[in-house]
Symmetry: C3
Subunit: 674 residues, 3 copies
């Protein structure tokens, strides 16, 4: 349980009373109660209010808000307000201002705008976190600390450059090791002195679209920037823990946000939390995958849905309303995948500036007689009923998909073989195939223990880090099923190629050699031709993007290319290795192939769907103390008929019995217990 | 009359004798006479020639040109030459050079290149204007002063930043008022000191595509930049007026140019003038709308067509020739909408630099035996015949369309709800519907007195400024018809939302509440379903872009949405208010709906087309002393048949009678008097 | 012969032993021998290794490599290593770092990164070239010097600005001449002082897409930059020649690379060499045209194919493999057009950095059992057989196509008439028509002697330099056929229009006057309607892009426009002038017209294809001592049947006789002697 003070699924969101007057506060409280809201995230962007100059701190307003809300039964998720520095700080201490990718010093403006290596920023952000901790460490309202906000954004200033040299020195020890790791003998970039190293940006090694001339230095700069921002987080967290060691600390993450290695971050967080903003056309399986990734950050521990919009966003191209009941559907989708909170950005819509067209529980009209508010209040009421059954329960998956931020960086930074290669999309293709079957999946890091899984899938595992290949070999030897794809096993953690033949360290496990890698424009396709029927697979399928030209070195060839000069060469292989199997898919297949392929893998391991439901209906399960809670989510866009056959469930919302043939409305949800 | 020295429609254009030798001057004069040219705009870009250093001024060359032309019957529109600073000024006084949106200091180059807050630029531009005024104040050739040229371009330098702080201080008085107006409690951007304020650009609050994090500061920077450039204009104008108080002063504007609030500018100009450069695909109704806007700048007073090309431009992607007679057609289109001059850029084509492929009266071949010259000469001859009837006559419209630059800025700066929303396009849709009916329209500012109109249409009036709502309520109470659309009445002049329910200050007038605003991709459409037949409207029409979800609060629902979850909700409403009606169109309709809708409005008010003509034929009227002059313009791209029935007109070009069935050739024009 | 030390077609490529260890070197040597490789380009990017600080030079490693290779029968193409400066130099002497188009000072990174006017760069690049020359001047392995690498990239720093002023001064002598040449009276840009001149870039006269406000200054900056980089080359070359006067010197060029005037460069090179990187969709005729251009740089002298990839590239969007036998086909295509070397980038694929996915003779797998290696070895073996017949032989063409870099710059820099106008594409259209007929073509500069040609074609010869018109008049007077097109003869070498009527200096030769130039969007077409059948031409063809509206002034009208208001005006004319003919094609025709048109020209001159072959088969010839070697290249993508009829050839690869009907496989090649 995140905090036992509030032993239910928390319901609330970001709240900015500092933008409003007292009359509005009273109205807010009334409406929060109507909506079943029990937690408010305060102080996210109030640094300027809290600290009007170097020496003055004003927290009285915050005391008043926390107390006022608490007196009305509403707890506080307490932010540290360091997501945007105050204007005076930018004016007096320009070191807090970032330099952008093109080398331009920024001026005061925006948010997430501080140089992470700025001495001024670090000093004052740590100090205000400590002052807040001292002040509120014993306040009964405070459930959790919310450090800063949506960390992100790289800086390219001179102080970052100096800090980067130190970071590199600490990592490699000698300049010779740096030269080797970054292969600087290429293009004569050999460094003789630490001072020779300049940071990689648009003025040095990097170009548009994130491609770098030297992947080594660019990879390390991403690691360094992720670490630099994490260092800022840790400074605040430690300042808080000094005074309030027992209150959990988090910061809100952003799913597949590319800039930070969240697996590394999550180790420093008591609970993972994230902000979920799908667009109207985002596939539900992509959202589910992201929830699973956020759950995977802390190895399955429940996470917080820290933000979602009650209806509209403002920053998409076309900001569609969430259709009726979709907010509810997506809220339960989060819970179904392991969230123990449902929280919104924002409780009241601001009157001006760039988020005034971002939806809120309380809209500009200011009263509760809106569709949005009614839907919010319904969910609030339901969550009060549900929490006992769900809180702290766990998803249980036998299939894991590997995702790795550093692998993604290396792929994106590399020049060739195809600009169309998108790592996250390839991961999603495999996730989606499992999702369509309603097979639970864990999204895991390359460091995760895999021994409890039946199947581990690592799409486009281009970078193989030390120890990973051995771990997977051991997993397969012991009976596991491993799947990887084209363009895997190519490089080590510094993006240096593993010589001797692709897929490098995975070669003996997979029993193949990839001699060449063809890359064609997206409209050029090849075929996956099954050598014989195999479970759900038969005949021919389409593939594209990249095409490894592989030779079996012991693996069984399951399918061959159907066209081009490599017609007849293997495209899908399986290698028996110890008690298990290692599969290789040498191109990017169509959806139909992947569904059959994944079904075969699951059948082979005796894994079956949680429920048999029509397409477009998602089913997940969370288990606590042996008791399963089943979520049935209708994403199909129309009413559907389900047949539960002889199973008898209790509908946790209605408390009624559910069995046999039933109907589930468009966008509706069933939450069932046996 | 702009200047009684030349009591006819002026005919001429920009002329740069400083680029040519004496032999060419003589040839020019001969050809100008052949073409009926009687005015030349001189000295537009001659600052470097006029003033080779800080202290030296040379105007002898200009004396010679003005005199030479005058001796040949050609008057002068005298520019002040400040549209581009001299190279020596940029070198010695870098404060004249602008800093761009990305913070880069520019070097000498281009035109319209001076920082409007540069002390050097202001000093020398004022000084040269004064010197010119002293020298030419009594010259009989000088008809009008042409200050600088096509003002535009923002600057983001430190001196602009300092001046902006002063401007903000003058507007708001206290830093607290600034914080309130800009809602800086959002994201903790509160200012404690005037020095905290930095200008909004790509290094601070603004991003690509003009979106700002803080609309308040960005709106004010646009106001400030428009004012700063206007201040430059006023310095020159006042310097001129000191010596030549009776010669009119203008500067050439650019239609819907986004950067400057021309309604504010026009107050400082004796006559509006503008440069008309439609492309080959520009709808004729868009050009007409722009003429009407330029006429509206000074409440209907005749304006100057200061520039148009005789044939080609150079800066479009594909610079098509003006087809035969199109230059003539478009010249009369300007006159038909209120222009009392027809002037070209340029009289002679330059030999080098970026406008060498811009058309001219005298082409590179240098003689008069060209299609372009022959067409120019024909119009010159005709204008000599026509002027008596047209000069100083006025268009008379009973329909007004509201256009507001600050509203446009606020829409463009806002983040959400849709990037596809283009204010000018929405205005044009309504204008075009009236244009197709040949109903005259005035384009007016929000400050204009509306009491003389029957119908006022304000598409997407997102920003409602103080007093506007009351004025419109009074207009409708007294019997007027008002129309507005989706996304109107949302914010005040600082882009702060009017709380309590959209459309804010217009809500009681319109009798509706807009609960939500949906935004969908451009290919996603809904339907406007008429509840019953209404005049020219029946059945169903298409709508898109934004979709207000409105509730009637007294308004009659005329049409409902035909699809999506708001099917059946109102999409077109009319509210009876006093003796008049207030219409609301909650989405962006197709052309067919708008033509029927507008026809109904006009029928209701007894407004009918000036003439019944086939589609593609434009008809306008100018009236002087009760005498109407009717323009019939064939934009259809082929010959058409007209039926004037029993009306009997005089063709002012042929002096013949015109009645009954007649033919009008492709691109031809009739100018008729009763 | 490039160097008599190795009297065969050289075979090898770029090799970077400094990236590898000794074990790899031994393996490399073994494999080079297997592949028939006899030349390695060394030291391309080893400056940092050669010179770790200002005063220290280490060439022992290079001695070892050159010797080791030589001892294994492999010669050296010795680079000077100055294509990328060392990191220490950038740190200590920032003047070596460039400033980019937007005025941003770059940091250390990339390659081709030195300011060409940097005193530091010039000092150290000259010095290292001299040291290398001293050391290796007598080494028997050194075949040729390879100065720097792929020169290119402009700089916009203050030292370039100062040098530009001197360059301008040297060219024009007085500031008045500069003002005249650049037409600075336009927009009042008159310079009074040399210091007034600022370099043209994104902060001054130039904008996105290379358009300039002043073509004069921008043209001269391109000339100056081309000269500045050439000066760097010459400094190194002269340092080498001082010690090694008899070893040829080159630098590798890049075909139609836009930035440098290669005709001027080639005068300073002993042999032309270039890097050929067609994409999978590049038309074979474009590659052939580029080979012919590279051959034309030195008036037909054999050139070096310095780089091509054995299979893949890394920097295209989708890096397709070269299909089986395509590397061989394209290698012989180079030889067929005059190359006396076949060389690769690269011999061994690097382990890291941005070219790790660029193909190599030795792939990451490290052994010879790859498709790529086998194909390389086959070509290596064949070249050993062939060299006697081909080396030093010459192509012999009676048709020349004019190409001029300064003309291209002027077209690209000009604003109007159409952004779709691409000079190289228009040149290629005419080249391709000749290519389809298998008529040999020389690509020549405007300075080339044309008296030996039958036909000279100068598409879009917008800029006519002094003397060119007279030379062509004399050529036609003496019986030659000249062809030019729309938008020709417009300006002089400063991009100042030749007044008095287009096509200016070419007008009397062509017997036409172009009154206007229409420009339409690419989807808008007109028709070329033949007045009567003319050889291979009859009926109607499509044309587009630009449309000159021409009048005959003596020329015979062969075809007329078929549509628009200039229907019936001439579109193709021919003027008899002395004993010859001058053709004008007033718009951009379709492929079908051009094939007929070019066929007529050739028939008229008695020029016929080298062989009659099916479409998609290329035939060229090289002649030495009266002996012809015929190349037949099957680009068609499938097997073809040829009929050589009674001709009897010797197949130089198989030594067999070839006559009558024969088959040629997809991507296969015949090399035949009579």
């Amino acid at each position: 349980m995140i905090n036992e003070k509030l032993p239910k699924i928390w319901y609330g969101g970001d709240y900015n009373p500092e933008q409003w007057d007292k009359a509005t506060w009273d109205e807010d409280t009334r409406m929060f109660k109507l909506a079943g809201i029990d937690v408010a995230t305060l102080n996210v962007f109030s640094w300027a209010k809290n600290q009007p100059d170097e020496d003055t701190y004003n927290f009285e307003w915050l005391d008043e808000q926390i107390n006022r809300l608490y007196n009305n039964g509403i707890y506080t998720c307490l932010a540290t307000s360091t997501g945007a520095h105050p204007a005076w700080m930018a004016r007096k201490y320009p070191d807090v201002l970032r330099v952008d990718f093109h080398g331009r010093k920024r001026k005061f403006g925006g948010r997430h705008n501080s140089c992470p290596n700025s001495p001024t920023y670090r000093k004052y952000s740590e100090r205000i976190a400590e002052k807040l901790a001292e002040r509120y460490k014993d306040h009964p309202a405070v459930l959790i600390w919310h450090v800063s906000n949506e960390y992100g954004g790289y800086c390219y200033c001179d102080q970052c450059e100096a800090a980067f040299r130190q970071w590199v020195n600490a990592r490699y020890g000698t300049i010779e090791s740096v030269n080797k790791a970054w292969n600087t003998s290429f293009w004569g970039h050999t460094f003789y002195d630490w001072e020779d190293i300049v940071l990689p940006n648009g003025l040095s090694e990097e170009g548009e679209g994130e491609v770098s001339a030297f992947q080594g230095i660019s990879l390390d700069y991403r690691r360094f920037m992720s670490d630099s921002l994490l260092e800022c987080y840790k400074l605040e967290r430690d300042a808080i823990k000094k005074h309030a060691p027992n209150i959990p600390v988090t910061t809100n993450l952003m799913g597949f946000f590319p800039q930070l290695d969240y697996f590394k971050w999550a180790k420093e967080m008591d609970v993972a939390s994230w902000d979920n903003y799908p667009g109207i056309d985002t596939p539900p399986s992509f959202t589910s995958m992201t929830h699973d990734l956020m759950r995977g950050l802390k190895s399955g521990q429940p996470f917080m849905l820290m933000e979602q919009t009650p209806s509209q966003q403002n920053w998409q191209a076309y900001n569609a309303l969430k259709r009726p009941n979709v907010m509810r559907l997506w809220s339960y989708q989060a819970v179904a995948h392991g969230a123990d909170t449902v929280m919104f950005f924002q409780l009241r819509r601001s009157i001006g500036a760039c988020e005034k067209y971002h939806g809120a529980v309380i809209e500009h009209v200011g009263h509760e007689h809106t569709r949005v508010f009614r839907e919010v209040a319904q969910v609030g009421k339901e969550l009060q009923q549900l929490s006992d059954h769900i809180l702290d329960s766990r998803a249980q998956a036998k299939v894991a998909i590997v995702y790795d931020w550093e692998n993604r960086w290396a792929i994106d930074l590399s020049s060739g073989p195809s600009v169309a290669l998108n790592y996250v999309d390839e991961v999603h293709k495999y996730y989606d195939a499992l999702y369509q079957l309603n097979i639970p999946v864990d999204m895991i890091s390359v460091e995760e223990d895999v021994s409890s899984y039946d199947i581990v899938i690592a799409p486009v595992l281009y970078m193989v880090k030390p120890g990973f290949a051995k771990k997977i070999e051991s997993f397969v030897e012991n009976g596991g099923t491993f799947v990887t794809t084209f363009f895997s096993g190519i490089v080590n953690e510094n993006d240096l190629v593993t010589l001797g033949g692709y897929p490098g360290e995975l070669r003996s496990l997979l029993g193949i050699w990839a001699e060449e890698i063809d890359a064609l424009a997206p409209d050029k396709k090849n075929a996956i031709v099954m050598k014989e029927n195999l479970g759900a697979l038969s005949g021919s399928y389409e593939c594209g993007l990249l095409f490894d030209l592989i030779h079996s070195e012991g693996a069984e060839v399951v399918a061959e290319y159907g066209a081009d000069f490599y017609k007849g060469m293997p495209v899908v292989t399986v290698n028996r290795f110890g008690k298990g199997k290692a599969w290789y898919v040498a191109s990017s297949p169509d959806k139909k192939f992947l569904q059959g392929f994944v079904k075969n893998l699951c059948d082979d391991k005796g894994l079956s769907p949680l429920l048999q439901v029509p397409e477009g209906v998602e089913v997940t399960e969370r288990v606590k103390d042996g008791q399963a809670c089943v979520f049935v989510l209708n994403h199909r866009g129309e009413d559907v008929q389900l047949d539960l056959e002889d199973s008898v469930f209790t509908n946790l919302l209605t408390k009624g019995k559910v069995t046999g043939k039933i109907s589930l409305s468009k966008n509706d949800v069933l939450i069932l217990a046996h």
